[in-house]
């Protein structure tokens, strides 16, 4: 149970820090393609640093797999939003969306893991 709580806290932290980093670097009106690439770069860096720091406490793959999706895809989405100036006008709102995104991705990975887990091949001998 503690690991599950840890997974969600890690996802929320990576989402929030990615949103914060993107908000600091992307301004409204920035070319959207550049903003998305920049966001992806920020998210990758954030998820590598935080993911690797938390992996000994939460498990290498259980941390890094959702962290990758939160950092890379979240960074791109946050970059797109911030370049358009569309929504989350305050920093608190942007952080809240980052936390929410992280939690949703961790939940989705949990569901996906449950659907994949189990026997793939059983020759019956």
């Amino acid at each position: 149970m503690l690991f599950v709580i840890g997974d969600y806290l890690a996802g929320a932290t990576i989402g929030a820090v990615t949103a914060l980093g993107v908000r600091a670097l992307v301004w409204p009106g920035m070319d959207m393609v550049i903003a998305m690439l920049l966001g992806m770069g920020v998210g990758t860096l954030v998820h590598l640093v935080i993911g690797l720091a938390l992996a000994p406490l939460l498990g290498m793959f259980e941390t890094m797999a959702p962290a990758m999706a939160i950092g890379m895809y979240g960074g791109m989405l946050f970059g797109m939003r911030d370049s358009m100036g569309a929504g989350s006008q305050t920093l608190a709102a942007a952080l809240g969306v980052g936390v929410g995104f992280g939690v949703v991705v961790v939940f989705a990975f949990g569901l996906y893991d449950r659907s994949l887990r189990g026997v793939v091949v059983d020759a019956g001998d």
Binding site: A65, D122, D125
Partner: protein
């Protein structure tokens, strides 16, 4: 002996127990379930610091090998706590100084993500396994899920410098080495797997 690999794992031995703290707890029950199938003379390849010895069923006869003397030094204390015969020896899985068909069970835990020539290593295991023997593996492999697989590919040049490759196709490598897959189970997504194989003569 592959000296570069030996040095890499000697260096990794210092932080190994810390890095595997959570994996031990999250994945331990799955390892215990797999190791319950151990029977007869058993070879464990890549013992590491001996973290997995506690998941072995008691009263078995196990030879545990590793390429790194520093890993084996740390494993010695854990081996002494095992209730059974557990011998530690330094060996390279790609050149095992062991007779043909001498083991009933071979166990690996996150081993073939690290062996530089995995098929050569697996062929050595095929050689030392008895015809009715079994290969029990707990391994992480490259994901078949598009973005995750690409991510593991991208991370591997970095991870390889300090530890394992993240994009090994171990199930396919086991088959290429002459084994038949008896059972394959996903433990986390399609990355962490239990692979059970038998020897095809």
């Amino acid at each position: 002996m592959d000296i570069a690999t030996q040095r890499k794992w000697d260096a990794a031995s210092r932080g190994y127990d810390f890095l595997s703290f959570a994996d031990d707890r999250r994945l331990g029950p799955h390892k215990r379930r797999l190791f319950a199938k151990i029977r007869g003379a058993t070879l464990m390849v890549a013992a590491g610091t001996g973290n997995d010895f506690k998941f072995f069923p008691p009263h078995q006869r196990i030879l545990a090998i590793d390429i790194s003397p520093a890993m084996l030094e740390r494993a010695a204390r854990k081996a002494s706590r095992y209730e059974g015969e557990l011998e530690l020896r330094q060996m390279d899985v790609c050149a095992l100084p062991l007779p043909d068909e001498s083991f009933d069970t071979i166990v690996t835990v996150c081993t073939f993500c690290s062996v530089p020539k995995p098929i050569a290593g697996l062929r050595e295991l095929h050689r030392v396994l008895r015809p009715d023997g079994q290969l029990l593996m707990f391994e992480h492999v490259r994901s078949k899920i598009g973005p995750l697989g690409i991510f593991l590919d991208l991370m591997t040049p970095l991870s390889r410098r300090f530890g394992p490759d993240l994009n090994r196709e171990t199930v396919e490598n086991v088959q290429k080495a002459g084994f038949r897959i008896r059972r394959e189970e996903n433990v986390y997504l399609d990355i962490v797997k239990i692979i059970e194989a038998v020897k095809t003569v």
